[in-house]
């Protein structure tokens, strides 16, 4: 992998862009092993890392040259390391309103869809949209589902959904355009917990059928 393309994002941030989510994850893993003075926060996106810096400690030029020196940690070793940690288990009742909309274009039966969703390891790539809303990418072939043509005004808290290459659990009732396939009782966000997000970026997740032993 060649170094990322780096764009300016205002006076105190840079946006590094990558060809794939795997490259984003690998570069971020490499970044975690490097020491970049003045780098204050890294925000993962689907193909980007937003790098915030303290302009009293560093500047865009210096940070750019330091970023060029960062060696990505290969996705293979990152994944192997990740497999050493136990994934978070989320029990799901697969009775979502959009199950038929999802199974129709993919040619899958409902039980095949459930097997596909529960049969793979998901990784929280990044969070956004709402506190605790984790964009999960699967180890299996993604379905690349479109969002609903019209968003729902209220998707219930705990709804398990699919869109594009991602799966997610709605942390609270909110508007949303993702395809709903099920629901869970597991709260994705709670201030009673440290950290409050159940699946911050980097967390491994496995879905299981609720009630199944």
């Amino acid at each position: 992998m060649t170094g990322p393309e780096v764009r300016s994002a205002g006076g105190t941030a840079l946006l590094a862009t990558f060809g794939s989510l795997a490259d984003v994850v690998a570069f971020r893993a490499g970044l975690a092993q490097a020491t970049l003075p003045g780098l204050t926060e890294v925000v993962s996106g689907a193909r980007t890392l937003l790098l915030r810096f303290d302009p009293t400690t560093t500047d865009a030029g210096r940070l750019r040259s330091e970023l060029a020196q960062v060696s990505p940690v290969s996705p293979v070793s990152a994944t192997r390391e990740a497999h050493d940690t136990e994934p978070l288990v989320i029990p799901v009742t697969y009775d979502g309103e959009d199950l038929d909309t999802v199974t129709e274009p993919t040619g899958m039966r409902r039980d095949e869809l459930v097997a596909w969703h529960t049969g793979q390891l998901w990784t929280s790539a990044f969070c956004g949209f709402a506190p605790g809303f984790s964009y999960l990418t699967g180890s299996d072939r993604p379905l690349d589902l479109p969002r609903r043509s019209t968003a729902r005004t209220a998707v219930p808290s705990g709804a398990v959904a699919l869109a594009g290459e991602f799966s997610a659990v709605y942390p609270r009732t909110s508007p949303g355009g993702w395809q709903l396939i099920g629901r869970t009782e597991v709260p994705m966000w709670s201030l009673e917990r440290t950290p409050p997000a159940l699946a911050p970026a980097g967390t491994l997740v496995r879905f299981v059928v609720a009630g199944a032993a």
């Binding site: 300016s8 205002g10 006076g11 193909r47």
Partner: protein, 294 residues
């Protein structure tokens, strides 16, 4: 413990401080004062630490009663200010000056005539319970100390470094009616997703602030929209405060303190920090223009 009681709130008021940066990986933004310069000035006026919590009140319009001696000041959108004594007598006061409230005094902050957000600091800061290390209400995440209502009791803390060392500072210069506010932007990160004419479209016309603006963003309209050169969908990416995010309609949304952590529309340019503060003071209908640096 010294405290102030909220007697009346007009158009909405929240406590704000420097925000809670560092939770982006959980989908939570930093929040904090929308006009950071004015909030910092209010804290300096009374002698507070920079991290002391202040009140951010839409159009001013807040009445507070002190139960002890309290040093206070208002900044940002300038409002008529008066102090009513417990015996009913009224003492003249003004925005952008240091006020001493005696026990039983009522601080009446009237309605701002120019600007949108008024900041109220008290020596020691407002010590409401912090959430995740900050006393900022985040209107997008709906997290933090809740917006004020009449009857709330706001304890005063100890986030002070000195007594006030100046009596007053100049108020912001008033604008002529219909005079455009000029906001400076730095191009990128996604300026190349727009046709090269984006520069003249952005700088060559007046924009107007839409009514649905809030702490998340200042929404704008104009005659000519910005045109995209890249039509494909943008995968969600991290966005900065001050970003000019351009939705399909082609008119920029100026992200303020409560903006989402990531966004799915391209950001054509980012406001400078002082322009973010100016943007936070724009009212619906206000005209504005953009100037591109670099």
């Amino acid at each position: 413990m010294t405290a102030l009681t909220v007697v009346q709130v007009g158009y909405g008021a929240t406590t704000q401080d420097l925000g809670r940066p560092g939770f982006s990986d959980m989908g939570l933004g930093a929040a904090g004062a929308a006009d950071r310069g004015s909030a910092a000035l209010a804290n300096r006026l009374v002698g507070n630490r920079p991290d002391a919590a202040v009140l951010e009140a839409l159009l001013g319009s807040v009445t507070l009663r002190a139960d002890a001696y309290v040093v206070a000041a208002t900044t940002g959108a300038a409002c008529p200010v008066e102090v009513e004594r417990a015996d009913g007598s009224v003492r003249g006061a003004a925005s952008h000056e240091v006020l001493l409230l005696a026990p039983g005094d009522t601080l009446r902050i009237g309605t701002a005539t120019v600007g949108l957000r008024t900041y109220v600091a008290v020596l020691g800061g407002f010590a409401v319970d912090p959430v995740l290390g900050s006393r900022s209400w985040d209107s997008l995440a709906r997290l933090g100390p809740p917006p004020l209502s009449a009857g709330d009791v706001l304890p005063v803390g100890d986030a002070r470094v000195s007594w006030p060392i100046v009596d007053a500072v100049p108020q912001p210069e008033p604008r002529w009616p219909d005079e455009s506010v000029v906001l400076d932007v730095v191009p990128g990160p996604r300026d190349d997703w727009f046709t090269p004419e984006w520069r003249t479209t952005l700088t060559g016309q007046d924009f107007s602030v839409s009514a649905d603006s809030d702490r998340v963003g200042v929404r704008t309209t104009a005659e000519t929209p910005l045109a995209r050169s890249v039509a494909r969908e943008l995968p969600s990416e991290g966005v900065e405060t001050g970003s000019l995010q351009v939705p399909p309609e082609g008119f920029p949304v100026l992200f303020l303190a409560d903006h989402p952590v990531t966004g799915g529309y391209p950001v054509v340019a980012v406001l400078t920090p002082s322009s973010i503060d100016l943007a936070a003071q724009l009212r619906p209908g206000d005209p504005l223009r953009f100037r591109i640096l670099g």
